[in-house]
Symmetry: C2
Subunit: 442 residues, 2 copies
């Protein structure tokens, strides 16, 4: 009988092993993908791509002639002597003794992924996504994205939140409207979740504070640089709030934590991408109506849509607060009730506004949040006043019948947050495999 | 201008605060949901439910007459004196001075959620899911589930894995077949992902080691105790493996880590549910064909389906290895090629078997994994031999054209893993909001 006891004995080293251990002058074994080959006639440099980065291997022509022929895209095992080499990346180099080919490509790369900057259109990058991501800078973007998500989880867990998973197939969409993907569920009409909104509210009654990271689906028919039809939503919802500002404070806490975590665990990628992390001290908060007229006055711009912020207005708000307050972030509060979903809590001081907010990051909305209605009668009343149907909302409403604490929460798009952090100008650049009106593959 | 700087000043205490600080004899403020009321005539006990557990508050009739009337399901703020009280849960009690009502239910609870064990059918629990989860034991199950997921993430991150998100809407299903939910994607046919299989393999070429936790969708038309039509899949895929046993070793490492994390961070819930955590030293590994005949001989049972394990066989295998090796887990290896998907690597020693495995936990499959084909020609050849079409697989196949390292991985169902850990007999009991052939709400 064989047994597994979680012991993996591997002869080959990772980059971290080579740097941390005193292996200089000794024989090492390393596995990786052949990222590039530089042929200088007498000697050849073979750069291997590993998960932690690149490592340079070198051999003279005489040695190489006795070894299997190498080409880019191969996966190989290289045995050789580890040496300090100041001119090489990371200060180390391996003098090749043996090469063992693990896997061979059928064709040469369609893009020069070994170039430092992948000088090609976003379209081409996305068409060849399965290989363009092998570029060191391309993949670093998604390592940063992982860091943002880890920060979200870790910070919320430290604040007493419980991680949950709620269903993505349901009977009716959270926000209503036409922007819902429909499917046939065993001969019953069903929809894909536009957000975990109803479920996370329900779960406030159970765990008080909950968060979810998962896909959301929006059948919106616009093709902009900031919209996706499927994206990863960072959601939280918390009970017993005294004021909706607690939600903004919680998000500020997450953002501060995020910057620290990125500095600590992702410094390599920060450097690769030359990212300037935001300095978050205190984030200005301004009312929707105030900022609307402020921007109008400041930039001599006519107000066209009084109930929402246009992308250009968001951009000007970002500019204004960067210049006046040196802040990359602004909370815009008290959005008009008209433009917020039925479950948004109206401001008791003026019911045409809601106790809600958006967070703008470098002039673009990255979060929508606010206090929700927790009283059953108030919720029913608002649904009635809006002339909405309650079909499919029965179980959601039932929750309030049996009592719910005051609560609120927010949702943030992971890809858009990454986009703004990295200074990309298209959200597809920070999405592994984007889904938009024209992209269903890869 | 207001600012947010991540400072939330709350007067009210959480349970942890009350236990860790020296507040005995002092006035405290606490918010929570009224879980139960015990009326002893002269005095009343009000038990509040908070996210960390329950706390008993007490008042005499005279005091209560001056305060707002309380009922179950309310959310309240209670001000009072904290006292040691050995007879109370957690050894503390609050003598009520003031009560402030934050929210009121419209109706009394449809289930006795304040009972220790919710003595009702699973059907009723699921029908009233939004409130049945408020029961202390019900919610503890999902806290444990969170722990399993956190262990998966933390362990894999410690092993150099990168967390990813891959799209759930796609052009074609990973495993093919009829069990796919179909939807209309802007007038193009699309499907919901049955697994992140293709994408995680693609990402091995990028990050070497990747994991994903996300929903998967299976339009399977059976209504069993162990199947869901939407579930949360724990997936990983790793490159440069020398042998598929490395995958099993990695999973064993995760399971050991999981037990330790549950002991450390979830001891409260372990106690509430009276869970006996598995002792994982070394997990036996046995070939499919061997275990098949072993069970047949040992339990005098005819082999009916030679290419797969029937649920009853899995159960007997579990029993056998528990009795003979005192192991709750068994790896069954080398499944017949016939029953594994096209991308499974056949055993070079006997191509009718694959370099694959299932993990059985207490006699039920909780994981399927194995080595994958990494060579383009071999993959094309296997597709051809199976008479499969390659439509929709073009981008997947392209990845292999440009070179891929040897790799393999696994997928595990989070809900099923939780079910087996907790000794539940229906996977719906460990799913927040299950989706099956009849359940689309709540």
């Amino acid at each position: 009988m064989d047994f597994c006891s979680a012991t993996i004995v591997r002869k080959d080293a990772e980059l971290g092993d080579l740097l941390s251990k005193d292996l200089f002058g000794h024989e090492v074994v390393i596995k990786g993908n052949v990222h590039s080959i530089t042929d200088l006639g007498e000697i050849k440099f073979i750069t291997l791509r590993k998960r932690e980065g690149l490592i340079q291997c070198v051999a003279d022509d005489l040695t190489l002639k006795k070894l299997p022929a190498i080409k880019e895209g191969m996966s190989v095992t290289i045995t050789g002597t580890l040496r300090k080499e100041e001119r090489a990346r990371g200060g180390i180099e391996i003098t090749i003794k043996e090469i063992d080919i693990l896997s061979e490509p059928k064709m040469s790369m369609p893009l020069s992924i070994s170039k430092w900057k992948l000088n090609t259109s976003l379209e081409a990058k996305l068409d060849y996504r399965t290989v363009s991501l092998r570029n060191i800078r391309e993949r670093a973007k998604f390592k940063i994205q992982e860091g943002i998500e880890r920060a979200f989880r870790q910070y919320l867990e430290s604040q007493g939140f419980t991680g949950i998973h709620t269903p993505k197939i349901g009977a009716k969409g959270a926000e209503g409207g036409a922007n819902i993907f429909k499917l046939d569920y065993f001969h019953r009409p069903a929809v894909l979740a536009q957000s975990p909104q109803f479920y996370k509210q329900i779960m406030v009654g159970v765990f008080d504070r909950v968060y979810e990271v998962g896909p959301v689906f929006r059948a919106e028919k616009h093709n902009t640089k900031r919209h996706l039809n499927e994206y990863t939503s960072l959601d939280f919802e918390m009970g017993f709030i005294e004021d909706f500002s607690e939600l903004m404070e919680m998000e500020t806490g997450f953002l501060k934590y995020m910057v620290e975590l990125l500095k600590k665990d992702y410094s390599k990628e920060i450097k690769i991408l030359n990212v300037e992390l935001p300095v978050i001290d205190k984030i200005p908060c301004i009312r929707f109506d105030e900022v609307k007229s402020l921007v109008s006055k400041e930039y001599n711009r006519q107000i066209k849509s009084p109930y929402d912020l246009e992308p250009e207005e968001e951009s000007l708000i970002g500019k204004y607060f960067k210049e006046k307050y040196n802040s990359d972030f602004v909370f815009v509060t008290h959005y008009p009730s008209k433009k917020r979903p039925f479950y948004a809590m109206d401001d008791p001081d003026d019911e045409t506004y809601t106790l809600s907010f958006d967070l703008l990051y470098n002039g673009m909305e990255v979060t929508t949040g606010g206090q929700r209605i927790h009283d059953y009668d108030m919720l029913r009343d608002k649904i009635r006043r809006r002339g909405m149907q309650t079909d499919g909302l029965e179980k959601y409403l039932e929750t309030f019948k049996y009592g719910m604490p005051p609560h609120g929460g927010l949702g943030a798009g992971l890809e858009r947050l990454t986009m703004q952090l990295l200074g990309e100008d298209n959200v597809r650049a920070t999405t592994l495999f984007p889904r938009d009106m024209s992209r269903l593959v890869p």
